[in-house]
């Protein structure tokens, strides 16, 4: 039965694409290589879990609470923690190294807080866990719903970035921050906004993931890794690339888990990563840098 893993792979890939879009905004626009990215995702998972089990709030309504909160927290992180590094960095490369170090520290703080609160156990909650039949394959309703939301959010982001004034400013900063300054774009405010938007997207991804996957406090690293690989495979700053690369990753993982061994999914991810590095380091849709 090939439709079953195909369907799981596509739904998983859609969510990976959404998660990677947030990272591509943070890295492509704000130039922050955020190694604590997955921790934001896991934090959103726990927030959704807490809302559902303690206050019995539906995770879809939870999105309306968690996503704006995540945007605010990420904006504050950028303004308070990362702005000093942006100001002190003499060049883009220096900022990259500094942001790697700072967010690596942040990773351990965030992970430590979650471990202290929730411990190392795996968690999940049962929301819409009813089987649905599509093309002869069985999928849980929560998984389909999560995929649907990922598609809607991704499309909204795409339209927002290409059709609105603020979106155009964001893309301008991604292409060339110096020229963006010349056409009266406030580069730092735009970068902060893009960073917050990226944080909002990953939180949305976290809430959606929590509806159908089990998670624990130390899962962040794996999600960061996957998001980074999708971003590189798709080409930094390329939303369409995120979509295609996310699908490739989701499908590969599901097929490896189904037909080879679930313990080897990260190995499969790494093989894809090595292939990209060897064959197309600029990404599937990226332009070769001179």
């Amino acid at each position: 039965m090939i439709t079953e893993p195909l369907l799981s792979g596509i739904t998983l890939g859609g969510i990976y694409a959404l998660i990677a879009m947030g990272l591509t905004l943070q890295y492509g626009v704000a130039r922050i290589m955020n190694l604590s990215y997955g921790e934001s995702l896991v934090a959103a998972c726990f927030a959704a879990l807490w809302l559902f089990t303690a206050v019995s709030v539906n995770p879809l309504i939870g999105l309306l609470i968690i996503v704006p909160l995540a945007a605010l927290i990420n904006w504050l992180v950028y303004q308070v923690l990362l702005m000093p590094l942006v100001k002190r960095a003499p060049s883009r490369d220096a900022l990259e190294v500094d942001s790697i170090l700072a967010t690596f520290g942040l990773l351990f703080v965030a992970q430590g807080i979650m471990l202290a609160i929730f411990g190392g156990n795996y968690f999940s909650y049962s929301f819409l866990a009813v089987p649905v039949k599509i093309f002869g394959a069985t999928v849980s309703a929560a998984r389909l719903l999560a995929f649907g939301f990922a598609v809607v959010i991704g499309l909204a982001l795409y339209v927002g970035l290409t059709k609105t004034r603020a979106g155009t400013a964001i893309r301008a900063v991604a292409v060339d921050p110096v020229s963006a300054l010349l056409v009266a774009i406030d580069v730092r405010a735009t970068a902060a906004f893009a960073y917050a938007l990226g944080g909002a997207l990953v939180a949305a991804g976290g809430v959606l993931v929590s509806m159908f996957l089990t998670f624990n406090a130390s899962l962040g690293v794996v999600f960061t890794m996957k998001a980074l690989i999708v971003v590189i495979m798709g080409g930094v700053g390329n939303l369409l690339g995120c979509l295609v690369a996310g699908m490739i990753l989701g499908l590969t993982e599901t097929f490896v888990a189904t037909y080879v061994d679930p313990g080897l999914t990260l190995a499969a991810t790494y093989i894809i990563f090595i292939a990209v590095l060897l064959l197309r380091p600029q990404g599937l849709f990226g332009a070769r840098r001179s």
């Binding site: 190294v97 690596f104 351990f108 703080v109 202290a116 980074l228 590095l277 380091p281």
Partner: protein
């Protein structure tokens, strides 16, 4: 060689001889603290050997360290000890060549990302192998070695790392690396094979880390993938190197000694909040002393000298 550098050399040699006698006047707890200090000195200095001049942040220290430990767990009882160490060195060298050759031709960010997930990848692969092939997750290490012997081996390894680092700095490779660290485009234009230089150095740095893991392994008696590939080790090594200062080979020592003590206290008093506190300590270092203690001292010396010069 001038009289001054001969005197420094003699002092260093005397220092090493003195350090070799540490096991004879310490109790068990102090010796284990000394072992920690020397092992982190090896790791942080090996880290600096590569990441200092090239400014490529490696986050994979524990991947190599853990591989060393696992080599001993698998082969320690069936082979002679020097042969085990040699094999550990070889595996570390081969893996780091693979990592280096696939990432170091590109810009630094790919290298960082690759090393970021490497420990987790190796951990999952070892877990998969143990669960599916050997059917036991943990391993016992019964090797007849005293703590003093572990200490001496680590001390010898530390001396080897320092001598190699010193020789590399004086060689053409060292000069090439400094040019790469300053400006990689310039390095390529003056005809330096930048990829080769980086890969070779990374392989040496990683193999030293693997050896440190192999030597430390008998201390555990029981290991499983979660113990051997604990990501906090990579993080601690990074913090120690940065606190000490990575632009000098001897810099990390200034970070290792205070931080081993600090972590010892934190781990005893706040075991559940350890990684939060370590993370906060790290952020403080990144923001407040970006050039490390050695950089701080050199800055003070420079301003003192300038003040003297202005006064004269």
């Amino acid at each position: 060689m001038s009289a001054r550098s001969l005197a420094i050399l003699a002092a260093l040699a005397a220092g090493v001889v003195l350090l070799a006698f540490v096991p004879s006047f310490t109790n068990g707890y102090q010796l284990s603290l000394a072992i920690n200090i020397v092992s982190y000195t090896v790791l942080a200095t090996a880290w600096t050997l590569f990441s200092g001049p090239t400014r490529y942040v490696s986050l994979a220290t524990v991947a190599f360290f853990g591989i060393g430990a696992y080599t001993v767990a698998v082969l320690g009882e069936v082979m002679a000890w020097p042969l085990v160490l040699l094999i550990a060195f070889g595996i570390g060298f081969a893996l780091s060549l693979l990592v280096g050759l696939s990432t170091l031709r590109l810009s630094g960010v790919y290298f960082v990302i690759f090393t970021f997930g490497l420990a987790e990848l190796v951990r999952q692969l070892v877990t998969w192998y143990e669960v599916n092939i050997t059917r036991t997750l943990g391993r016992y290490i019964f090797i007849d070695v005293t703590h003093a012997q572990i200490y001496w081996q680590l001390l010898a390894l530390a001396v080897t790392v320092f001598i190699s680092g010193w020789l590399i700095q004086r060689s053409k490779l060292g000069l090439a690396l400094r040019v790469i660290g300053d400006d990689e485009a310039v390095a390529r234009h003056v005809g330096i094979n930048t990829t080769m230089a980086k890969v070779v150095l990374f392989a040496f740095s990683a193999s030293f880390m693997t050896l440190a893991g192999a030597i430390m392994a008998p201390r555990w008696t029981y290991i499983d993938p979660a113990i051997a590939f604990n990501p906090v080790v990579s993080f601690q090594v990074l913090i120690m190197a940065l606190l000490g200062g990575v632009h000098r080979l001897y810099g990390p020592i200034f970070g290792v000694i205070p931080l081993v003590m600090l972590f010892e206290i934190l781990l005893a008093k706040f075991p559940n909040h350890f990684s939060i506190l370590v993370g906060v300590a790290f952020l403080l270092i990144v923001y407040a002393i970006p050039r490390g203690i050695v950089g701080l001292i050199e800055g003070v010396q420079l301003s003192l000298r300038n003040a003297k010069g202005a006064g004269a």
